[in-house]
Symmetry: C2
Subunit: 163 residues, 2 copies
């Protein structure tokens, strides 16, 4: 699981690099799908990952809004500032946590029970899904999106045991 987080971070950083070549107006231009524009989708990716990791730790949510971080530099800063805490959390991950449950109250008040393992996979898939959306928008701009390949990134060499 840690490997797929590292994959997401590597791909995310490549998207930041690509977006660095685009004017701010292009990052904010309304588009179909995702969160409606490139920058808001990047903010959402960063926000959702961190919010779930806070939630799994029983900490208060990150409540700042996109409007407070509507520049690429600010979204990159958030991403960089959140990562060490997410990394620490993943390094403490154990098999026992996979099945640990937690309850969430939905918008209409209904209670749902999820396992920590389920939530971690949700966070992983969430980012990959949104990056797929970004890739369509990049092609519309005649840009080559960063590779979505997991292989060839040497992701599993660094930390044996934390897969």
């Amino acid at each position: 699981m840690y490997t797929l987080f590292r994959y997401n971070w590597q791909v995310r950083d490549e998207w930041f690099q690509l977006c660095d070549t685009l004017p701010h107006e292009e990052l904010m231009r309304p588009r179909t799908g995702g969160l409606g524009c490139i920058l808001r989708t990047l903010f959402h990716i960063v926000d959702v990952e961190y919010s779930w990791i806070l939630f799994l730790q029983g900490k208060p949510d990150f409540e700042e809004t996109f409007e407070q971080h509507a520049t690429l530099a600010s979204v990159k800063r958030l991403s960089e500032s959140f990562r060490p805490e997410v990394e620490r959390f993943l390094q403490m991950w154990s098999n026992e946590m996979e099945t640990r449950t937690l309850q969430i109250t939905g918008r209409s008040g209904q209670l749902s029970t999820f396992t920590h393992g389920e939530i971690l996979r949700h966070v992983i898939a969430h980012e990959i899904h949104h990056v797929g959306q970004l890739s369509v928008w990049a092609r519309e701009l005649n840009l080559t999106p960063p590779s979505a390949n997991v292989i060839g990134r040497k992701l599993m060499e660094r930390e044996q045991g934390l897969t």
Copy 2:
């Protein structure tokens, strides 16, 4: 990892259901990004997952082309016919296989070494990424794409131990 395969299959089947409501011309209409149209992207998802699983088992590749399966019914049939073998392979998965290596000769003749674990994660991320692309195309058609959520699908209840 098995959970994320089950996630992909559930989401894939929901996409098949959604596509069942669309005329064939819409599934074939040229679009920006992905594999260039909805049906070819669905075929690619099915083809790539199975081809990697065959490869990991040392079996010959699936070599049929999209042109041989360019209807939704045919792509669905392929998906259904491949699944039992993919499931059997995942059910035999063990931690020892994570780090088992395998060499691949690239298009330009260079040799790359990957672990089985890395390839399995690649297969998972590959489908989620392409489904993200499909979701943009669905929104362009004013359709609501199937949910990309992992949580709420009861994916981890069925098979404890095979996470």
